[in-house]
């Protein structure tokens, strides 16, 4: 986790625990995001309906993960940030699950 902590900070949380990343990495992530957007739009235009929706449902979480992991630095954060994030998303999933269970089977 703190593979870069030797050179930056000393793991006390007062100072940044990860070194700045190279610019090129973020440009690559951006290119991937643009490409995935084209894939989603292309699928929705060419195969409207089930296929387009399925592609959007598969690709959108990948795009979100790229933004979270790289642009929002979650990849390099200490585990507590990842646990907090997964807890929040997990709670949301529970809300969705319970609501749909209610709506679909009432």
């Amino acid at each position: 986790m703190h593979d870069q902590s030797q050179s930056h900070g000393h793991g006390d949380g007062r100072t940044p625990s990860h070194a700045p990343q190279p610019y090129a990495l973020f440009i690559k992530v951006w290119a991937a995001l643009m490409l995935l957007t084209c894939v989603t739009v292309g699928a929705s235009v060419n195969w409207p309906g089930a296929v387009g929706t399925a592609v959007a449902m598969a690709v959108t979480p990948i795009k979100a993960s790229l933004v979270l992991l790289f642009f929002m630095h979650l990849k390099w954060e200490p585990p507590v940030f990842k646990i907090m994030f997964l807890t929040a998303v997990g709670l949301m999933a529970v809300f969705f699950g319970l609501s749909f269970f209610d709506y679909l089977y009432r």
Binding site: M57, K63, V67, F81
Partner: protein
């Protein structure tokens, strides 16, 4: 001089980098729930009025929605580049990329303005006489469209204010290489705005 020495300089009696970021993430979770609630309403009504939602979505301007996605994704890139530049001690690049982020944010709002104007001109706005003649599901779709893209647009405006303040503080040197968490947190907010839009695009524009 190492970044440690800067961060532990005499001007900073108490700084808690991880604490500051934890606070920002907790705030972002409340935002997640705010938008999440709306996404939940959207999904339930889309399940109940599938056909109406598909018809209504067909009237949205896909090229404008996709263009705005490219604009926001690029603004997210310039934002993260700005934080990285400041981390590396390149203040001028940090300011330039922050300027680009602000420009792209403004461009997003201009495009949104034309998109909304066209909808309102066609009588498609919440509570309009035209919508009352359409099936119930289409009314719900446009209600959610205006509330969700409106709330998102409001976040873009708030983000622009935040980023402008950050630009001033980076310029004056209050936010610098040894203490950049404020810029990083403003960046987290900006990426959340991008993140919400990533979900809005397929839900509203690509439902056709």
């Amino acid at each position: 001089m190492s970044e440690q020495a800067l961060a532990h300089g005499a001007h900073a009696p108490h700084k808690d980098y991880e604490g500051a970021k934890t606070g920002m993430w907790i705030f972002l979770f409340t935002e997640l729930l705010l938008f999440g609630g709306l996404f939940l309403i959207y999904s339930v009504y889309r399940t109940l009025y599938t056909h109406d939602f598909h018809l209504a979505a067909g009237h949205l301007n896909v090229p404008l929605g996709v263009t705005n996605t490219f604009v926001l994704l690029t603004s997210s890139l310039t934002m993260v580049l700005s934080v990285t530049a400041l981390q590396k001690g390149d203040r001028q690049s940090a300011l330039n990329t922050l300027g680009w982020t602000l420009f792209l944010a403004a461009l997003f709002l201009v495009i949104k303005f034309f998109e909304w104007s066209a909808k309102i001109e066609h009588g498609l706005y919440p509570g309009s006489p035209v919508l009352k003649t359409l099936p119930a599901g289409e009314g719900l779709f446009y209600g959610l469209y205006f509330v969700m893209t409106g709330l998102h647009g409001f976040h873009v405006i708030v983000g622009m204010v935040l980023l402008s303040v950050m630009a001033l503080q980076v310029k004056s040197g209050r936010v610098h290489q040894g203490d950049f968490v404020k810029l990083e947190n403003a960046g987290l907010y900006w990426h959340l705005v991008d993140l919400v839009w990533i979900f809005l695009l397929p839900l509203f524009y690509l439902t056709n």
